[in-house]
């Protein structure tokens, strides 16, 4: 049985890579989602529904489609990728950065929704009161809106982390399945699954995947409860 749980170097590599990608993705996605979530929650503007539609696209598109679209845009001949390739010689696709970008795109709509909802729940009358007391818009945001929306922000962060841990379709299309560079946990599981006789390896990776996701969800619950507790102390 203990033989079963001896993790090979490449398996560790996949696990570490996944955690690294998920963390960077969550850290980058969070501030972006806060800004966008705030605009969607508080402002009316022309074309708002269109923006909402575009942001939510990765939620409903098959991840493989998202990956393909990312290739078209960020690939060497894509609108954005071309600039990077020709000016700096940087190839975005099939790299570690591609794995992070794929993770950001698929988790962004989730996080934005969560944050937007929790900002909408913040009583605007409190924000108004803060203004009469002399607070600038930025101060109102950081001292009133954000603290009161904190549970949503935290869940958003964890959601982003957990979603990237599980991202497969967009990653394999846009970042590829390069061991040590882009082979995240889900990709490693997929690879092992294709080859008969690799049940043990597959199982080892699946166990880690399940545990990581569980931990992420438990952490989210715990943090949420703590925030609620501190507000009612």
């Amino acid at each position: 049985m203990s033989e079963l749980f001896k993790y090979t170097a490449s398996e560790w590599s996949a696990i570490q890579l996944s955690l690294y990608v998920a963390l960077i993705c969550a850290v980058i996605t969070l501030p972006l989602a806060i800004v966008v979530g705030w605009f969607l929650a508080r402002k009316k503007f022309f074309g708002k529904s269109v923006l909402e539609g575009i942001i939510h696209l990765p939620l409903v598109l098959p991840p493989i489609t998202t990956g393909y679209l990312l290739l078209l845009v960020f690939g060497n001949r894509g609108v954005i990728g071309k600039f990077f390739y020709e000016t700096f010689g940087i190839q975005i696709a099939f790299s570690f950065y591609a794995a992070v970008i794929a993770a950001i795109f698929v988790s962004f709509p989730l996080v934005t929704r969560s944050i937007r909802l929790s900002i909408e729940l913040v009583d605007q009358k409190l924000e108004e009161a803060a203004r009469t007391l002399g607070a600038s818009n930025l101060r109102v945001f950081f001292t009133i809106t954000l603290p009161l929306a904190l549970p949503g922000v935290i869940s958003g962060f964890i959601l982003s982390f957990a979603r990237s841990l599980g991202e497969f379709g967009a990653t394999i299309s846009f970042a590829g399945n390069i061991e040590g560079k882009t082979q995240t946990l889900p990709l490693a599981i997929f690879s092992e699954m294709q080859v008969p006789g690799q049940e043990a390896s597959t199982m080892r990776l699946v166990v880690v995947s399940v545990i990581l996701s569980l931990l992420a969800m438990i952490a989210a619950e715990f943090l949420n409860k703590r925030v609620i507790k501190s507000k009612t102390a």
Partner: protein, 360 residues
């Protein structure tokens, strides 16, 4: 005396146009009118939450708004202390942090004085949800003062609290005005509560200013009478405690300026109220009856002598202005007024029960 607040505001609302021009002195001023007639919009305009279609607002000589000069100072720079109807204390801050929100480093003396005056010292480390309605209201007032406001705006400070608690806030407001010399503008649809604080009123109906001045002066004009009558008006008499008649459970109240003297039930005032304590005594015009002679063998404690000054007739009612040392209004039926020949100059006696008195 230069007014503390001077404004002319025109603002189009859904059902009416708000058009008010006034100069507010450094006193407590009440804005009275039925609900939904523009009082809150007026406060919101002064605070900057709403921008009027045209007009100007000057506070202590500073221009907050002048549509002709295209000047519109932002909310956060106006130094207007707004105490909202729903207090709006920040739930995630302690009371202390709430108080310090507008000014992180206030003068320690000022801070202590505010906390003392409003008696909120025991609340400083609590969160708003651990405080009662009255405590939250006082904290909201304190927060506005400490933030360096030049004027306090209060929106319906009485309506959130139940009847008993309402009177609690009134002495605090008086003290605040005296101690910190801040002009206070109070909006309310509750005339007696307003009158317990101030005689200076702005009357607002359908967004229009019907009158501005002392309550007794406003009574002279029929339109004002009608507005106040519709809203449940009161007479206000300014009296002091003269003596406690303990055996009778009554208190004797006298006027400093005239011979006016009234008996009231001890429980409406309180046993512990000191001699010479100034009080406002309110009574509804329709709770007073008139007679041409003193009446014997009647259960009423109060029969006050006075002279008829004027009579206004409307819809079968006669509003009689009677001078009993102060002007009061007595409402009787037109029929009675005519049959008793109650005319100008006639000596009359105003009869009312001690129980009809509201005392602040």
């Amino acid at each position: 005396m230069t007014p503390a607040l001077s404004f002319h505001i025109k603002l189009q609302r859904k059902d009416f146009t708000l058009d008010v021009k006034a100069d507010i002195p450094n006193w407590i001023t009440g804005i009275f009118g039925p609900s939904g007639h523009g009082k809150t919009s007026l406060l919101n305009s002064i605070a900057g939450i709403v921008t009027p279609d045209s007009g100007y607002i000057h506070l202590n000589g500073d221009i907050l708004l002048d549509t002709n000069k295209k000047k519109n100072v932002k909310i956060r720079q106006r130094r207007v202390g707004y105490v909202f109807q729903d207090e709006r204390l920040f739930p995630h801050y302690t009371i202390r942090k709430n108080l310090l929100y507008g000014e992180k480093n206030p003068d320690p003396e000022l801070f202590n004085e505010v906390v003392d005056t409003l008696q909120i010292a025991h609340l400083l480390n609590k969160k708003p949800e651990q405080c009662s309605g009255g405590e939250k209201q006082r904290a909201a007032i304190g927060r506005a003062i400490i933030s360096g406001s030049k004027i306090l705006l209060m929106d319906e400070p009485f309506s959130a609290l139940d009847v008993n608690l309402r009177r609690e806030i009134i002495p605090y407001l008086n003290r605040v005005h005296q101690k910190f010399s801040l002009p206070i503008l109070i909006v309310s649809h509750d005339l007696p509560d307003l009158l317990s604080l101030t005689d200076n009123l702005l009357l607002l109906k359908n967004g229009q200013l019907l009158g501005h001045g002392k309550f007794t002066d406003l009574l002279d004009r029929p339109e004002n009478l009608e507005l106040m009558h519709e809203s449940g008006w009161y007479n206000v008499m300014h009296l002091s405690v003269f003596a406690h008649l303990e055996s009778k459970n009554m208190v004797l109240l006298k006027s400093n300026k005239s011979n006016l003297q009234i008996q009231a039930l001890t429980q409406t005032i309180g046993k512990d109220v000191a001699i010479n304590q100034a009080l406002k005594v309110l009574i509804k015009p329709e709770s007073i009856a008139l007679s041409k002679e003193p009446v014997q063998n009647i259960s009423l404690r109060n029969q006050v002598e006075g002279t008829m000054k004027d009579v206004l007739l409307k819809d079968g009612l006669a509003f009689c202005i009677v001078d009993i040392g102060e002007n009061i209004i007595v409402e009787v039926t037109e029929v009675s007024q005519k049959s008793m020949c109650l005319e100008k100059g006639q000596r009359v006696y105003c009869l009312f029960k001690s129980a009809s008195l509201k005392i602040y």
